[in-house]
């Protein structure tokens, strides 16, 4: 076996070993806070496959993706505008810096006061939080467009619309994607927090309720579900990004 296969073997074996270790360590566990892994998994199957999918998982995810999608729909055009107009950028910088610096959960009470405890509050909070990474990265991406590219587009009298669509946006795309990626994980986090603070359904609510009623295996199963969701979103996004930015990665590989 050569070195690479050994390393690959280690890479695959390590997580399996960690899981096995957890399983063995917790097998005879009498500690009520750390139930056996097998128990967690069987509760997971009973609870989430697919008993509570319609009542908790789907509403949670709908909120999350509504907020996330809105953050892109608002953040990218706004970011392009602010990135292109220097005066606007300078004028808005302190406002953006301030709102961005507010820890997002601190906005939940504000959301409750203004919008109540329903769906719109949750979508609003997720939007408010996911918006800033998209906005900031878009502004940076647009500002970082190679001036030579813009100058040549101008020299060829490319229309403003085409400049925007074919020069500015593609050049800023890698940055924008980086922002969207951050926004995605923030959306998931705020989805959970907003349900923990004010809700009567959803994954976050389920976990907190399970903890309050000392349904510990159920609580663990919800935590495992969130872990799996976070991992899957990350994976899916990486795949989309790789596809959308294929030209970019190819260009970079060729250059280096």
């Amino acid at each position: 076996m050569n070195r690479r296969t050994v390393l690959l073997g280690i890479q695959i074996a390590a997580p399996v070993l960690v899981l096995l270790g957890w399983g063995l360590w917790s097998a005879g566990s009498a500690n009520i806070f750390y139930p056996p892994l097998t128990k967690i998994l069987s509760v997971f199957r009973e609870t989430w496959l697919f008993d509570r999918v319609g009542s908790d998982v789907v509403p949670s995810l709908v909120n999350m993706f509504s907020g996330f999608a809105l953050s892109i729909l608002i953040g990218v055009p706004l970011g392009v505008l602010i990135g292109l107009v220097r005066k606007l950028r300078t004028a808005l910088a302190p406002v953006i810096e301030f709102v961005r610096a507010i820890p997002p959960p601190a906005l939940i009470p504000f959301g409750i006061v203004v919008l109540g405890v329903g769906t719109s509050m949750k979508v609003f909070i997720i939007l408010m939080v996911a918006l800033f990474p998209v906005l900031m990265h878009t502004i940076d991406g647009v500002r970082g467009v190679e001036p030579g590219l813009l100058d040549s587009a101008r020299a060829y009298r490319v229309s403003r619309r085409d400049q925007l669509l074919h020069v500015v946006l593609p050049a800023a795309a890698p940055q924008i994607f980086a922002g969207v990626r951050v926004a995605l994980s923030l959306s998931l986090i705020l989805m959970v927090i907003s349900e923990m603070v004010a809700s009567t359904r959803g994954i976050g609510y389920f976990i907190l309720e399970a903890q309050r009623t000392f349904a510990i295996p159920e609580m663990w199963s919800g935590m495992v579900l969130l872990g799996i969701l976070g991992y899957l979103f990350n994976l899916a996004f990486a795949a989309i990004e790789r596809r959308a930015l294929r030209w970019h990665h190819g260009a970079r590989k060729g250059a280096s």
Partner: protein, 280 residues
């Protein structure tokens, strides 16, 4: 920025007739104008009745409330609680993550063994741990610190590993061919080139630690700004709630500024900072 500004001045000769104000000054003026404009719009929409005065008090009265709070002890106790949690968890996270990251980054075997585990653990939202943490550690400072440390360690860990891996191979080979000892290579070649990455990780970690501290205060009721905000909201004292939210934002801005300044000082030698200095 220089590039765009020189471009725009050369493109519009009319600007030359104006008095030569320093660009820094005009930028600050524009920024202040933007801030005032946004506050004026909010204030006017409350006065005009576009926003309900009860749940959306005038900005001016929120600010007056904040000024009043700043004179009393209550606000500073909350700020102190939040900052205490932030400082402890940030310090712990950096310590753990830099040491682990350097170990992982300098060993191929360890790197291979941990990649998949890290990739799986990192996207788990740290807030998922809240219920467990409450059961095991209660609702006080310990829970807050655990959550914030857990969340803040990831960006530093990832950045440290990245930084260690991204050492200029030529520099490393050169050091090797001069027979620099391994720990000299680590201290004078690998670490300096990893520092810019780590610095970025630190900035993200600081923000994350603050967010998680406030979350813990909000969700599990540990004392601090987050708890004060919820209490104000539950009690219907909306002006107080807005004043506290503004205070929390100002704390965030302050921490950001501190980190940008530290980064600038520590990395004066690094091209990214040099470029920025020219730009400003």
């Amino acid at each position: 920025m220089t590039r765009t500004s020189t471009l725009s001045t050369s493109a519009s000769p009319g600007t030359r007739r104006r008095l030569p104000l320093s660009p820094k000054f005009t930028d600050a003026l524009l920024g202040a104008a933007g801030l005032v404009a946004v506050m004026a719009v909010l204030e006017l929409s409350t006065i005009a009745g576009l926003l309900p005065e009860k749940t959306f008090p005038r900005v001016s009265s929120d600010l007056r409330q904040l000024a009043e709070l700043a004179g009393g002890a209550e606000l500073w106790t909350s700020v102190g609680h939040t900052l205490q949690g932030w400082a402890i968890s940030f310090g712990l996270a950096v310590l753990i993550a830099v040491v682990l990251g350097m170990a992982i980054g300098s060993s191929t075997v360890l790197h291979a063994a941990t990649t998949a585990v890290i990739e799986f653990l990192r996207p788990i939202p740290s807030v998922a741990l809240i219920p467990l943490v409450v059961l095991v550690l209660g609702t006080g400072l310990q829970s807050k610190i655990f959550l914030a440390t857990f969340a803040a360690a990831w960006p530093v860990l990832i950045a440290t590993i990245y930084g260690m891996k991204d050492v200029e191979p030529v520099a490393l080979e050169t050091a090797r061919s001069f027979r620099a000892r391994p720990h000299d290579r680590l201290l004078s070649v690998v670490l300096p080139s990893a520092v810019p990455y780590i610095a970025t990780g630190l900035r993200v970690a600081s923000t994350t630690a603050l967010i998680l501290c406030v979350t813990a205060e909000l969700v599990i009721g540990a004392p601090g700004l987050g708890q004060s905000i919820t209490v104000a909201q539950a009690g219907g004292q909306y002006q107080l709630m807005y004043a506290l939210i503004i205070a929390t934002g100002l704390l965030g801005v302050l921490l950001n500024l501190v980190f940008v300044a530290i980064e600038k000082r520590l990395l004066r030698w690094h091209p990214s900072q040099r470029a920025q200095e020219v730009v400003q």
